[in-house]
């Protein structure tokens, strides 16, 4: 046993320092030198003030803004320090109820729109912080936002296209629209 004790304890401590302190510090130094914006949270600014992160979704419920993915975080949606999904199973009655309520809210905000609702706009994301929606979900909302802002459809359509990322190399991930960036642009360019 004695022959095990010393190597075990000293090796444990030394390798802990190496992998638990030296390594993360080295990565931090490299990250802060070469990728400072990304390493600090991809923050977005407006008039010199930080208004959010390009990677973290915010909650929108006004007609004049595009809405993002529903969020199941507690106690309020898009809580940055309580990430997670609803974890509701497909048969859970509460899931159908939540989706129904979201559809009703969308219809109430835009009674003229009778199209089926793109599924990502009424189901909660995995992280509760999803910054993006599908192009279909953005398209679905254009008329509502246009009406609330007294803009024409074409102007908004162009803006949505500007903020659409297509599928990488044609097979990685999905096409998507960053909601916060789009809404910031709305406020800035199309007052």
């Amino acid at each position: 046993m004695k022959t095990i004790l010393r190597p075990a304890i000293t090796l444990f401590l030394l390798l802990s320092v190496l992998t638990g302190m030296v390594y993360p510090l080295a990565v931090t130094v490299i990250a802060q030198i070469f990728f400072p914006s990304a390493a600090n949270g991809s923050l977005l600014e407006k008039d010199g003030k930080v208004v959010g992160s390009a990677l973290i979704g915010q909650n929108f419920s006004g007609s004049q803004y595009f809405w993002g993915r529903p969020s199941a975080t507690a106690p309020y949606p898009n809580n940055g320090v309580a990430s997670g999904g609803s974890n509701m199973g497909p048969l859970n009655p509460a899931l159908a109820e939540a989706v129904k309520a979201r559809i009703n809210a969308l219809r109430e905000a835009d009674p003229a729109n009778a199209q089926p609702v793109p599924i990502d706009l009424v189901t909660s994301s995995a992280s509760g912080l999803d910054p993006e929606i599908s192009p279909a979900a953005a398209e679905y909302q254009i008329k509502r936002v246009a009406k609330a802002r007294n803009l024409n459809y074409e102007q908004l359509h162009q803006l949505v296209i500007k903020h659409t990322d297509s599928r990488l190399f044609g097979f990685l991930g999905e096409a998507r629209v960053n909601v916060l960036a789009l809404n910031l642009d709305l406020d800035a360019e199309l007052k």
């Binding site: 390798l15 990304a38 990430s83 997670g84 497909p90 609702v117 992280s127 192009p135 998507r176």
Partner: protein, 598 residues
């Protein structure tokens, strides 16, 4: 499956295939001590630690030393959590973690399970994350590789009394394999948007005010409930969003490469700060299978017959492809109950469609289904979508993937030693069928090896099924269920399956941060890990001591399509069949109810 899903699967598998050989040969070089550089750091470490690198150990000493090293990990992780408020790098001033949760988490990270009863961003200080959890990500991965290398040496050596020096093996794996890969991968992750800093969380003002119902709490912090048992709420509003910060990228890299899977944040690889783009997602998936795939080649190289390694690789690949196609197909089908409400779940150029509850927009269906299959076939357990919200059959894929015993690529090291145990069983059964003494790679498989093989194969199903039975029969166990009906049973079955197979993913609706689950699941994790490692090392010792017998015309070939088929059959029959009744009660019932409507 959509076209881009097929392309994704194809490109993923080809990339994995291309990387496996060079990395596998490199690992063999490292573990056989043929590396030409790095000697100075290594030798300095040995001098400090009083390690004589040429002094080898018998299997018993090797096992004891490894167990003791892992025990130190349990103590360290436990203490870091229990004392974190008094330690530095805790900018959010998180309180000390409760004793039962700390115990569970300590066992969880040491056993490479990384089951998480807590949510990282509101529980763990930066110091606990990096010096406790991330260090175990390295050590538990190293432990797995060290064990499989010892088992391979058992086949390679003959009439030998030792299987290697555990300290040297642990050091080499950490220094030459895990650290360099993690360093490269973490810098790539940062470049894509994964955060890496030591500052406190940032409060920002959001564009809109969020109105919500805030649950009222009593004096002890418990939610107040009305006469019907619904929580009492009061209207509230906020215009503040707190952005989490921390050293995420460095931990994320080893979390994936070491098939650990314990997220810095609660949402794990679904969190945009852990996995921000489809590109990071692709490389995260790749990093899960990277080392387990390469180790097959290492095995072939070390036993001196590359075909043996490729045979194992082929068996794993076929099972992987079948499961992946299943998961991506089932999730794309969507939820019939939501279709009738007036939603559009179809696939178009404009949207992913399908079952989007609990999935991220940037990953959609294909990238989520593939990730779920990979993370559960390997004992990784990181998630980029919430498995609890998968369709019944889509959710059965991850469940069954774990129940195969984490041998399809599997955890780093543990996947291959698990598969080699199945290979031993396969030659034994084939030997019985044709009436010959079973042998594998020139070693006779005899009574002792078969006893150890039986223990290694049976310990996990026993833990899963007995644990599930205990949980569903007790009040404390049923209290954790979040979803009604058959799905609630699936949540418990998933939890026990996940911990005993050292996976760590969850049907996360289950409230498992209770003393009951923290203790039950910790027992499952510990014995699910070391209940396999100890018999495997015993087999290694026994094989090393045997004489090598020469190949004759009567020797059964253990490479080629026939053996691949035998191995796959063995894994499915022995691994999965144990669970069929339990699966019938959970996902199968649920599937029938969902699609027939009653």
């Amino acid at each position: 499956m959509t076209n881009h899903a097929w392309i994704l699967l194809g490109v993923y598998f080809l990339t994995l295939l291309l990387l496996s050989k060079p990395l596998g040969l490199y690992i063999a070089q490292v573990m056989e001590g043929r590396l030409k550089y790095g000697g100075v750091i290594e030798n300095t470490l040995y001098r400090f630690c009083g390690i004589k690198k040429d002094e080898e150990m018998g299997w018993l000493n090797f096992t004891l030393a490894l167990l003791f090293f892992n025990l130190l990990g349990v103590i360290a992780v436990y203490l870091l959590q229990r004392l974190q408020i008094s330690l530095p790098l805790n900018p959010q001033r998180f309180a000390n973690v409760s004793p039962d949760s700390s115990f569970n988490t300590a066992i969880s990270f040491v056993t490479n399970t990384n089951w998480q009863g807590y949510s990282g961003e509101s529980t763990m200080s930066y110091l606990t994350q990096m010096l406790g959890l991330a260090v175990q990500n390295f050590f538990s991965a190293a432990t797995g590789i060290v064990v499989v290398i010892a088992l391979i040496r058992g086949f390679v050596r003959h009439t030998a009394s030792t299987i290697g020096n555990v300290w040297v093996d642990l050091t080499r794996v950490t220094l030459y394999i895990l650290l360099p890969l993690s360093l490269v991968f973490s810098v790539f992750l940062v470049s894509q948007g994964v955060i890496q800093n030591f500052v406190a969380n940032k409060d920002i003002q959001t564009l809109e005010v969020t109105k919500y119902d805030n649950p009222k709490l009593d004096a002890s912090g418990q939610p107040i409930k009305d006469a019907k048992g619904n929580p009492v709420t009061e209207p509230a509003m906020t215009q503040t969003q707190t952005l989490p910060m921390g050293p995420v990228a460095s931990q994320e890299a080893i979390k994936m490469l070491g098939t650990n899977g314990g997220g810095f944040f609660n949402a794990n690889s679904a969190h945009p700060y852990e996995n921000p783009t489809p590109l990071t997602n692709f490389f995260q998936m790749l990093s899960i299978f990277l080392i387990p795939g390469a180790l097959c080649i290492t095995f072939g190289r070390m036993v001196g017959d590359p075909r043996q390694g490729w045979t194992i690789y082929a068996a794993m690949s076929l099972l992987f492809l079948a499961f992946a196609i299943g998961a991506m197909t089932f999730e794309q089908q969507g939820n019939p109950l939501l279709a009738s409400l007036g939603t559009d779940q179809s696939v178009t150029a404009m949207q992913a469609g399908g079952n989007m509850e609990g999935k991220e927009t940037r990953f959609g269906i294909a990238d989520s289904g593939l990730f779920a299959t990979i993370t559960t076939l390997a004992s990784c357990g990181a998630v980029n979508a919430m498995h609890d919200s998968f369709t019944p059959l889509g959710g059965m894929i991850p469940l069954a993937s774990m129940q195969l015993g984490e041998v399809v690529f599997g955890g780093v090291g543990s996947g291959l030693y698990g598969m080699l145990v199945f290979a031993i069983l396969a030659v034994f059964i084939a030997g019985l069928m044709i009436g010959r003494t079973p042998e594998y790679l020139g070693k006779k498989i005899e009574s002792f090896e078969m006893k150890m093989t039986s223990i290694a194969i049976l310990v996990t199903p026993l833990l899963v099924l007995i644990g599930t039975a205990i949980a569903v029969m007790t009040e404390a166990g049923r209290a954790g269920i979040a979803n009604p009906g058959a799905h609630g049973f699936s949540e418990i079955l998933y939890a026990l399956t996940s911990v005993a197979n050292n996976n760590g993913s969850a049907f996360a609706g289950l409230s498992a941060n209770t003393p009951f689950y923290n203790v039950l699941l910790a027992i499952g994790m510990w014995f699910g890990r070391f209940g396999v490692i100890v018999p495997v090392l015993a087999i290694a010792g026994a094989l090393a001591a045997k004489k090598r017998i020469s190949v004759t015309s009567g020797t059964m070939s253990t490479h080629g399509p026939l053996f691949v088929t035998l191995l796959i059959g063995e894994v499915i029959l022995v691994g999965l069949l144990n669970y069929v009744p339990a699966l019938a009660l959970g996902p199968v019932v649920e599937h029938l109810v969902l699609w027939t409507g009653h």
